[in-house]
């Protein structure tokens, strides 16, 4: 009985507190309706990511290559050391960039690869800091293969497997060029 009376009183209180709404309120709210309502603007299942990222072409190229190398590594297929996606990345960078930018981007790409190879425990050497980036025959990185040969990445990101003697010859050529 008490329960019912209290509920009845609450209903009466609801009537007593139903007051007129400011007349302009509806119009004010309607004016604020966006021209385009997008169901994906927010929600538990959506995340708004707005990034105004300004980076140089060189950095962008390096980021693209590192991403590709990582993708190649994570998703199997071809090993980063074997080329494949890496080569595609190289072509993409060459396509996107031109001239000296492309040469420098090659050095950056080689450096990214060197860091990756070093992390994987390979006995790898990097010469990118001391070579002329425009020299397509300069050795950027080299590492020893299990069969005794060496894989060499040149300034134009071309790769070759060379013997120890051939590698010495290439390095000597680099030193001569530097001395000049």
């Amino acid at each position: 009985m008490r329960e019912e009376k209290l509920e009845k009183l609450l209903n009466e209180l609801a009537d007593a507190t139903a007051e007129p709404v400011p007349p302009h309120l509806a119009e004010d709210i309607k004016h604020q309706i966006p021209q385009q309502l997008s169901p994906h603007r927010g929600g538990l299942d959506t995340v708004n990511i707005i990034v105004d990222l300004r980076i140089s072409k060189l950095t962008a190229a390096a980021a693209i290559i590192v991403t590709m190398v990582l993708f190649a590594n994570f998703f199997g297929g071809q090993s980063p050391a074997d080329g494949g996606i890496y080569q595609n990345g190289k072509l993409l960078v060459k396509y996107c960039l031109g001239g000296i930018l492309a040469d420098r981007s090659n050095v950056l790409a080689a450096k990214s690869r060197y860091e990756y190879l070093a992390q994987t425990g390979k006995d790898v050497m990097y010469y990118g800091d001391s070579v002329d980036p425009r020299d397509s025959n300069a050795v950027l990185i080299q590492w020893k293969l299990s069969d005794g040969g060496y894989r060499v990445v040149f300034g134009d990101l071309r790769e070759e497997i060379v013997s120890a003697e051939e590698l010495i010859r290439l390095q000597a050529r680099m030193l001569q060029k530097k001395a000049k």
Partner: protein, 192 residues
């Protein structure tokens, strides 16, 4: 039978409205405003916000609704969705204005110029006491009472609007009623 028909029509209307809102239809947004702006404004007033604050919070609620339109699942949840947004807007306001609690109780007055229905039935004293008792409830309990008894949401809708399970909501409601009974009970044990 007639009730069932009108209920079906209302459900269909809500489903259609929700579908159009999800599709980004601006006319549906206007319709939503027409349906809810009064309810939401009065909801804020009943929660204890002043007229000006209630006005601002009503506008904020609709702005939040446009931003979270992707969360609207179906017409059945339209009511609770709208009240949940309003409840969150109110909660945020109180979080940022902790000193405004006293004002909110004063703001819970019967509006000037409109004689309450209760006066006609001679219950004004009881309703007046109840008004003060409701205004003195903790926010969560007050919200439960307002949603269910004053905004007339079903237990399921009100629980969803409050962001809790039905069991929790019923428990809050029981605690609120118990507190109210304790505050408005007379010396001889009768409700005043």
């Amino acid at each position: 039978m007639e009730y069932s028909d009108s209920s079906d029509k209302s459900e269909q209307r809500c489903s259609s409205l929700a579908a159009r809102l999800r599709a980004g239809n601006r006319a549906a947004a206007v319709e939503l405003v027409d349906i809810y702006y009064e309810q939401i404004y009065v909801f804020f007033r009943r929660l204890g916000h002043s007229c000006q604050v209630s006005e601002d919070l009503t506008q904020e609620s609709f702005l939040a609704a446009w931003q979270h339109i992707g969360q609207l699942r179906s017409g059945k949840t339209l009511n609770s969705w709208m009240y949940r947004i309003a409840g969150n807007v109110s909660k945020l306001y109180w979080r940022g204005h902790k000193d405004s609690k006293a004002v909110s109780i004063e703001g819970f007055d019967v509006p000037d110029g409109s004689e309450p229905e209760c006066d006609k039935t001679g219950n004004s004293e009881q309703v007046g006491r109840l008004k003060n008792a409701v205004a003195g409830l903790p926010i969560k309990l007050r919200q439960a009472v307002v949603l269910h008894y004053m905004q007339h949401l079903t237990i399921a809708e009100a629980a969803e609007a409050a962001g809790v399970g039905q069991g929790t909501f019923k428990s809050r409601l029981n605690r609120a009623l118990k507190t109210l009974r304790g505050r408005i009970i007379s010396e001889d044990g009768e409700l005043l």
